[in-house]
């Protein structure tokens, strides 16, 4: 069964309809890349799935659990809704680290606040905090940042900041990790380190959705590609097929433009 199902998402801003009925699904452990020119709606789609925008119409199911349904307005409390939302994590284009916290605290802040809601928090406080820190350190180690734990974001390069933000998103153990153009704010020589991290996550079968302009990378790392154009999915399929044998005129034009 698909771990993510997105059905018929519509979203308008004022009179302009940005998403005109988007549906796709994603298998557990797979990597999906969303490509398309600027203004095609790919970032809006990602923001709708992450609740940074509310879709006008549509349904989103994660792991069999409906996290959004425009037909059945939810009666969930704010906290229950947050719990559902945490099934998905998001890495931003601009990192959005919290500047006043060091690297370790950036990663542990959300898990620590969440742990406070646990019934046994008061009794086992030390142990719980300890576990959160151990896990954060493991994640940061994996990101090659174990020597930067007490650094502040302003002391890090863009690539390092983005790796911290990946660790921060992973610390909440999302079932699916979304990336919003994770290398677009980076100098070209720094994009490699982020792509390497994503590649490694793919090897470990982390389910990921990546909005990206890095076509070579998308082709290499993705199982599935969705090509968006003017608010619809113009074409989708296996990465290999899509890049080597595009069917639609729009995708052909898009790929040709990139070559020039």
């Amino acid at each position: 069964m698909a771990i993510l199902e997105v059905e018929n998402i519509h979203k308008s801003f004022g009179k302009s309809e940005v998403l005109k009925g988007i549906s796709f699904s994603l298998e557990k452990g797979n990597v999906l890349s969303v490509i398309g020119s600027s203004g095609s709606g790919k970032t809006t789609l990602l923001r709708c799935i992450n609740f940074l925008e509310t879709a006008d119409v549509g349904r989103i199911t994660v792991d069999g659990d409906t996290i959004f349904d425009s037909d059945a307005p939810s009666t969930l409390s704010a906290r229950e809704r947050r719990d559902k939302q945490l099934k998905i994590g998001l890495v931003f284009q601009q990192f959005n680290l919290f500047p006043q916290y060091n690297v370790l605290d950036n990663v542990t802040l959300a898990p620590r606040l969440r742990a406070k809601e646990r019934a046994d928090y008061k009794q086992n406080k030390k142990q719980i905090i300890g576990e959160i820190e151990v896990k954060a350190k493991e994640l940061l180690d994996k990101m090659g940042l174990s020597d930067k734990l007490d650094h502040y974001p302003c002391q890090l390069s863009g690539g390092q900041q983005q790796r911290v933000s990946i660790a921060r998103a992973m610390a909440l153990e999302p079932k699916i990790l979304f990336f919003d153009e994770p290398t677009s704010a980076l100098d070209p020589e720094l994009t490699g380190e982020i792509l390497k991290v994503i590649r490694e996550l793919a090897k470990e079968h982390m389910t990921m959705v990546i909005v990206t302009h890095e076509m070579t990378f998308a082709k290499e790392v993705s199982d599935h590609i969705v090509f968006m154009d003017r608010g619809v999915i113009a074409e989708e399929g296996r990465a290999q097929d899509l890049f080597e044998n595009p069917q639609s005129e729009r995708l052909k034009a898009f790929l040709n433009n990139l070559k020039n």
């Binding site: 992450n50 609740f51 940074l52 704010a78 906290r79 947050r82 719990d83 939302q85 945490l86 994590g89 998001l90 931003f92 601009q94 959005n96 680290l97 919290f98 500047p99 006043q100 802040l109 959300a110 606040l113 969440r114 502040y152 974001p153 302003c154 933000s165 921060r168 998103a169 909440l172």
Partner: protein, 229 residues
């Protein structure tokens, strides 16, 4: 010259008493206006239109009229117009009225500084907090607040140093602060009359106190230097 040395201890004593009242007004104003200003800034940023419109109207009126008029209105209005003097007589009544006027006035100025600070925090900070599952209040207290504090230290220090000197306006309702104390030696007090130097000398108190505040604010700024917003 010998006359000056005879007068100085008497004047010094009297100015100290006046300055204590100045400091009390200063402290009480900060204590009230710092939190009230935050509430007002929330009001003016509210998505509930009537609330934000009314709040902004109040801020406009308070910032758009002289503090001196506000002092006079707040002090005299209840007694003269309603026939119900609510402040009580004597120095304590004048102090209470002055404090209310100062808190109201300064809270409005502070609210605009807070608003500017809060709105200058990039939307990405709120979004990051949201996708990490932080609640609205966790986002404000754990993520936004310290960044706001860092941003508003320079304009706040400006405003607070202005407050030090603005307290002298309370002289208009005869609050016995330091200007009042200095002036009393012109008319005659403690056997000294026709002397203007005590009034001029009050400037030294303001200068030293605002100097002290400047040092404190610089320290605070340095303390928050460890991160960038």
């Amino acid at each position: 010259m010998t006359q000056f040395f005879q007068q100085f201890p008497v004047v010094f004593q009297s100015l100290n008493v006046g300055f204590l009242q100045t400091l009390k007004l200063f402290g009480a104003t900060l204590l009230g206006a710092l939190p009230l200003g935050l509430l007002i800034s929330f009001g003016s940023m509210s998505k509930f239109k009537p609330l934000s419109i009314v709040t902004r109207l109040i801020v406009w009126v308070v910032r758009g009229t002289p503090l001196m008029i506000q002092l006079l209105i707040i002090f005299f209005f209840p007694g003269l117009v309603w026939g119900k003097p609510i402040w009580g007589g004597g120095e304590s009544g004048r102090f209470l009225a002055a404090t209310v006027a100062f808190i109201l006035n300064y809270a409005c100025y502070f609210s605009e500084i807070y608003r500017g600070g809060i709105q200058s925090i990039p939307v990405g900070q709120h979004e990051a907090a949201q996708v990490l599952g932080l609640s609205k209040s966790q986002t404000f207290f754990r993520v936004v607040l310290l960044q706001v504090v860092k941003r508003i230290v320079p304009p706040m220090s400006n405003e607070i140093i202005t407050l030090v000197k603005d307290t002298s306006l309370a002289r208009i309702i005869a609050l016995q602060e330091i200007i009042w104390a200095g002036q009393s030696f012109m008319k005659g007090s403690h056997g000294i009359a026709g002397q203007i130097w005590p009034l001029f000398f009050t400037g030294v108190y303001y200068l030293l106190f605002s100097g002290l505040l400047t040092i404190l604010f610089n320290r605070l700024e340095k303390k928050l230097d460890y991160f960038k917003v």
